[in-house]
């Protein structure tokens, strides 16, 4: 029977049967069956015990060997049966159902005679090899797929099918698996079309004593399989999932009696563990995983397939299954796998995990699954710190981790999720303590005359004034308010032009707005974008629970616990340049009356950043400085090496000290050394250390020593004595660091060049690191953590000080350093701020955009920071002769980049090429290293963007909506 299928002549056969009358078919069928039965009975051990000489079992199964259970069956008999069955199956398949849906005569005969089961037993009797299974599966696949009448309603057909399926459950041969899944897939389609069969599937399985609902259980092992098999299995499972939504029994069975959900969730964990722990970042502007990135990574594709499947299951399945799955994903993947992965020890690993998380958030669409991810981020505590706080703190890390973290937050903000916005920003604004008490009414005030936009635009640096830009950069035109001629969508209405000139309607009323003034056309684009962005935000936020307008939720109800500074009094000044890095740990969560009731006992704010954060901070700090000399304690060997590797791999150039050294890539030059703790560590080759020590600005003497030390370390055979060498190294460093006095010069310097920024940060960080990491117990247990000590003037930055939250704080801090940020950081940063500004909630809108709102002295506003940056730019422009020229070059560069932006890999070499080919005037070439120049251009554009958002808010947020 099998060869029919193997020959693949299904269509040919069906043609042959056309026109043959049913009675003839029936007679043929019966005759064939009679012949088959003869052979079957001959070999039935119950009827005959005759053992014939052994021959090859069946022609097709050449690979089969060994003896069959009940004695061998002669080849000619086997192939005779096969031939008969072949024909019989076609007759069955082609038979139409009888009148009023009754069985056709052949089917009736099959059911009465129990043909299928007897055939199955026959095949069992012979060697039941993989090939045999394969053929049987194909036979049923054909029957199920092509029969013209419903077959599965009949137990005599269904039962042998189930027996076959269960006998295949333990198979491992890929071909059998593929056929099994294909058949299961087809069965699920039949089920989906005709749920009445469902009952039979349950009953049949019970008879069989196998797992209830066998076809489902059989599919589970294939959930995470890659390729077609996995896809078919997942498709089939999804069909059952949507069945479950309507069928309580199926839902209950899946949720209670199968391992579907745990398998699905833990499978994610398994697949996740096979993802690369470190990504090869193509360039430093890279900040998130795009499709073209992950298409290159088969393991990531596979993970995303499974995640997508989870998403789909949650979408269609019964709520019981959905809840169970979501819970398993939370407790079986996010908490045990993703949380630790987010807290790995090296920057690259953490950066990689962050990029994965960002990608996952962008891939998930089902609200319930998104909620799971989000509640993990917002509520889960890893080592007593909310994941969110950790992520926020990382925005301020230098290099890739900071950029990737920014991209993650761009994703989070783009979800328009109330819970996210509440935790990130709104809860700090609800008490309204960030503004003077008298200002609360201003929150909802409408800026009727674009006063804020005007104030923001007035910050435009003089070197970027629209009047200064030469064409074609200056997109000034008069098309705007004279709606007659030039508007592009004006469908050739020339009449209008005429009428426009006759504007004065005889009564001497001039109705012309600014037609004599040349206007910045690009501003129109910003207005248009602002309008789209705000209106979609408004629409999205309609599902939110409150308007956040300074009245609802009521500020009085949500005052921070222990607030002792009455609003209006001037709190102690806080150093403007303090690092937001630290803020996330002593930021007080808003304590509310209902909070404790809802969420259990209030958790004490963590007194101290947890270990991993300290580690991260240290690594980052060392990276910033380009030196690790101040460290007095190398608890983590990995970091030492990783640090150097990182430093060597080109970050030197970024910190603004380019020197003659064209450092090689880290990877090829480094060696992976397995450590006893199971971590791999990247050790730079001696040559590279050499390089780096030469290339680095040798401002610290100790640094060179240190490199020399490492050079020794790495030059020697790495292996068992590695630890001994660490100790040696640590001793040396301890000695050096020990004698170093603690610097506490809280001198405030305006960061102007990248180098200076580094210096300022470094001084402050030093102090923190010293106090935080000195292993004296009393320091570790100090109630406010050690960070507070270096804050000049203020005893503590405790709950009572108005504070707009770590997120805002860290964003503004990075914005303040705009001039030293890379172009891509600034693009992300301004993108995030613009998106935040598009939110319609008056609390947020007024905080970011209302330039008339009077804040508490300790609160920094966006406008304030923008003003600082403007001043930095003006100083810079005054001190550099060619600044205007550079601005023009940067504008050209960005302009040239624009059209190529959509295509892949618009790195700066490419941009440069475009620039060279672009028509005259030939602009001056500009290096991306001139961050301050690019930042100036972006700053100017950002002002326009913000002003446009402010203007659109004054309209869109006030359009009355009728019920």
């Amino acid at each position: 029977m099998a060869s029919v299928v193997a020959n693949g002549n299904r269509d040919g056969q069906s043609l042959v049967l056309k026109g043959v009358d049913p009675e003839t078919c029936m007679i043929v069928f019966k005759n064939h069956w009679a012949q088959v039965v003869k052979i079957l009975e001959k070999h039935d051990p119950l009827r005959s015990s005759s053992a014939l000489p052994s021959l090859s079992v069946i022609n097709l199964t050449a690979s089969s060997s060994g003896s069959s259970r009940f004695g061998p069956i002669p080849g000619d008999e086997a192939s005779a049966v096969q031939n008969y069955v072949e024909h019989m199956l076609f007759l069955l398949m082609e038979e139409e159902s009888g009148q009023a849906g009754a069985m056709g005569p052949i089917l009736e005969f099959v059911v009465m005679e129990n043909v299928m089961e007897r055939l199955f037993v026959w095949s069992l009797r012979r060697e039941f090899t993989d090939d045999m299974k394969l053929e049987q599966l194909k036979m049923y696949e054909m029957l199920v797929g092509q029969a013209r009448q419903p077959l599965l309603h009949h137990k005599p057909i269904l039962r042998p099918l189930m027996m076959l399926l269960s006998s295949c459950s333990s198979t491992t041969a890929p071909a059998v698996e593929a056929e099994l899944v294909l058949l299961l897939n087809q069965l699920c389609y039949v089920l989906a079309k005709d749920p009445s069969i469902l009952e039979l599937f349950f009953h049949t399985s019970e008879d069989q004593g196998a797992t209830n609902f066998l076809i489902f259980s059989l599919l589970i092992p294939f959930i995470h399989r890659e390729g077609t098999v996995g896809q078919q299995a997942r498709d089939a499972l999804l069909l059952i999932m949507s069945l479950s939504a309507e069928n309580e029994r199926v839902a209950k069975h899946i949720a209670e009696n199968t391992f579907f959900c745990p398998v699905l969730a833990t499978g994610l964990s398994g697949l996740y563990s096979s993802l690369p722990t470190k990504l090869d970042v193509p360039n430093e502007e890279w900040h998130c995983l795009h499709k073209e990135d992950w298409l290159q990574m088969p393991s990531l594709i596979q993970f995303l397939n499974s995640l997508e499947f989870c998403n789909a299951v949650i979408q269609v399945a019964h709520p019981d299954i959905r809840d169970q799955l979501v819970s398993y994903i939370y407790n079986g993947f996010l908490v045990p796998v993703l949380a630790p992965a987010l807290h790995k020890l090296t920057l690259e690993e953490v950066m990689t995990t962050t990029a994965y998380l960002d990608l996952f958030l962008r891939s998930v669409t089902e609200p319930a699954l998104l909620q799971t991810f989000l509640s993990f981020i917002l509520l889960h505590r890893h080592e007593n710190v909310h994941i969110l706080d950790t992520l926020v703190s990382r925005i301020n890390t230098p290099f890739q981790l900071g950029i990737v973290s920014l991209a993650l937050f761009r994703t989070l903000i783009g979800l328009y999720c109330e819970d996210v916005m509440l935790q990130l920003v709104l809860r700090y604004l609800i008490p309204c303590n960030h503004m003077m008490l008298s200002q609360r009414r201003v929150v909802r005030e409408r800026d009727c005359y674009s006063a804020s936009a005007a104030k923001i635009l007035a910050l435009t640096p003089s070197c970027c004034s629209p009047d200064r830009s030469p064409p074609p950069l200056r997109q000034l035109d008069s098309i705007l308010f004279s709606k007659g001629g030039e508007t592009p969508d004006n469908s050739g209405n020339t009449e209008e032009k005429k009428s426009f000139s006759e504007e004065n309607d005889g009564s001497g009323n001039s109705c012309t707005i600014g037609s004599e003034i040349y206007l910045d056309v690009s501003y129109l684009h910003y207005l248009y974008d602002a309008r789209l962005s705000i209106s979609s935000c408004i629409r999205a936020c309609q599902v939110w629970s409150a308007p956040y307008d300074g009245e609802d939720p009521p500020p009085e109800k949500y005052q921070p616990a222990g607030s002792c500074v009455p609003p209006g009094t001037d709190p102690l000044p806080v150093n403007q340049l303090e690092l937001e890095w630290d803020d996330s740990y002593d930021a007080c969560p808003v304590q509310t009356a209902d909070a404790s009731a809802e969420r259990g006992p209030p958790q004490p704010p963590p007194a101290e950043p947890p270990k991993h954060i300290q580690e991260m901070r240290r690594t980052a700090r060392m990276l910033v400085k380009g030196s690790y000399i101040e460290e007095n304690d190398f608890q983590d060997d990995v970091m030492v090496y990783d640090l150097i590797a990182k430093k060597d791999s080109g970050d030197v150039e970024r910190t603004g000290k380019p020197s003659g050294s064209q450092t090689e890539e880290t990877k090829p030059g480094s060696a992976e050394v397995p450590l006893k703790n199971g971590l791999n560590l990247t050790v730079p080759s001696p040559a590279m250390v050499d390089n780096s020590s030469n290339s680095l600005d040798a401002k610290a003497n100790g640094q060179t020593d240190c490199n020399a030390n490492l050079q020794n370390t790495t030059a020697v055979e790495l292996g068992d004595d590695l630890l001994a060498q660490y100790e040696e190294l640590i001793r040396t460093l301890d000695h050096e660091a020990g004698g170093k006095p603690v610097k506490a010069d809280g001198e405030v310097k305006k960061p102007i060049t990248p180098v200076e920024v580094v210096v300022v940060e470094e001084d402050e960080m030093d102090f923190a690191s010293f106090s935080a990491e000195t292993p004296e117990p009393e320091k570790l247990h100090s109630p406010f953590g050690t960070i507070n000590r270096f804050r000049s003037g203020s005893a503590t930055k405790n709950n009572s000080l108005p504070f707009t939250g770590p997120f805002i704080s860290v964003l503004l801090s990075r914005l303040e350093n705009m001039l030293s940020n890379s172009l891509h950081v600034n693009l992300l940063l301004t993108g995030i701020l613009a998106q935040l500004a598009a939110y319609p909630q008056p609390l947020l809108r007024s905080f970011l955009l209302n330039t008339n709102l009077v804040f508490q002295p300790t609160v920094r506003s966006l406008y304030q920071v923008l003003a600082i940056v403007k001043n930095q730019i003006e100083e810079l422009a005054a001190s550099k002769k060619d600044f205007t020229e550079l601005i023009t070059a940067a504008q050209h560069w960005l302009m040239a980049r624009e059209p190529s932006g959509g295509s892949s890999g618009s790195n700066h070499q490419e941009g440069g090429r475009i620039l060279k080919n672009s028509p005259p005037p030939k602009p001056k070439a500009i290096s991306l290293e001139r961050t301050e120049v690019f930042a100036t251009v972006l700053f100017t554009e950002f002002l326009k963007e913000l002003a446009a958002i402010a203007q659109e808010h004054s309209i869109l947020s006030y359009i009355p909506m009728e019920e």
Partner: protein
């Protein structure tokens, strides 16, 4: 008679000239991201660079810190704000619509439903000074000079200034002018009239005054179907009831709910919230699936 007029379109004024050109600056933006393009839009394809020197000559006059070249934007948005305020007021019997050509000129019509001027349908135009909101108060001119003590019998201008002797930004709004225009037809004031004849008649011979008003109302209504006085696509024009045209429009008006989402459908799905109303705790809604 039934008439139709088009509902004002609140915010389509300014931005009709911009098309959604697919700037793809940030390849960064993944699918979900609405951030799309940012900064530095491309040079418009068919816009030749302006080589003419800027009429302003010197860079940036920043009188009180305002960028001169953005002034028109501020003005336009101030007027848009005014217009949304008008919509919000839902003034009974008053409809206005900014002209297509200029946001400084609004077309309006007022329906008087009782009193001396009952059944009057008066079309008018509002002229807003171009130094709004720092200039004088807007002018309101009726298309046909209504017989009224405060309406100039020649120009048709309503004496608005008596109600707004000094136009104060933040305090005075255009809807108040419209409101005032409505009030004058219900509460007749005869002091310092622009139409002394009407004032005197009202004081001395109300019956004659009334009949003059009736004549005036008739005259106005007889010109209802005239072409608009000012040729503008957004000018308010009336036409006799025509079921073929108006029935469907009427139907739409009664079922139409003006919501922003109906105006411009953007693909972005709805936002998310699991916050219980009255709470500020994330995931405080009860229907949350349990996480642990």
């Amino acid at each position: 008679t039934h008439s139709t007029w088009s509902l004002p379109c609140a915010t389509g004024l300014l931005l009709r000239s911009t098309e959604q050109s697919g700037h793809g600056e940030q390849r960064a933006s993944p699918a979900r991201m609405p951030f799309g393009r940012k900064q530095l839009p491309p040079i418009p394809k068919n816009a030749a660079p302006i080589t003419k020197p800027s009429p302003l000559g010197t860079p940036m006059q920043s009188a009180n810190g305002t960028h001169a070249s953005y002034g028109p934007f501020y003005l336009e948005y101030s007027l848009l704000a005014e217009f949304t305020l008008v919509i919000k007021q839902k003034l009974p019997g008053i409809y206005v619509q900014p002209s297509h050509k200029s946001a400084l000129m609004w077309f309006g019509v007022i329906f008087i439903r009782h009193g001396l001027y009952q059944d009057g349908v008066f079309k008018f135009t509002v002229y807003i000074p171009d130094n709004y909101p720092d200039g004088e108060c807007p002018k309101l001119v009726f298309d046909i000079p209504v017989f009224h003590p405060l309406v100039d019998p020649v120009s048709g201008e309503l004496d608005v200034r008596r109600a707004f002797t000094k136009w104060r930004r933040n305090h005075n709004h255009i809807w108040q002018v419209l409101m005032y225009a409505r009030t004058v037809f219900y509460k007749i004031n005869t002091t310092d009239p622009l139409n002394p004849e009407a004032a005197v008649l009202y004081e001395k011979d109300v019956q004659l005054f009334k009949s003059k008003v009736v004549d005036s109302v008739k005259l106005c209504n007889s010109h209802l179907f005239d072409q608009p006085k000012i040729d503008d696509p957004y000018a308010i024009s009336f036409s006799p009831w025509n079921p073929a045209v108006h029935e469907e429009a009427k139907e739409r008006m009664f079922t139409y709910k003006r919501r922003p989402e109906d105006h411009h459908k953007v693909s972005q799905a709805s936002g998310l919230s699991w916050v219980k109303p009255g709470s500020t705790q994330p995931f405080s809604k009860e229907d949350n699936p349990p996480q642990s």
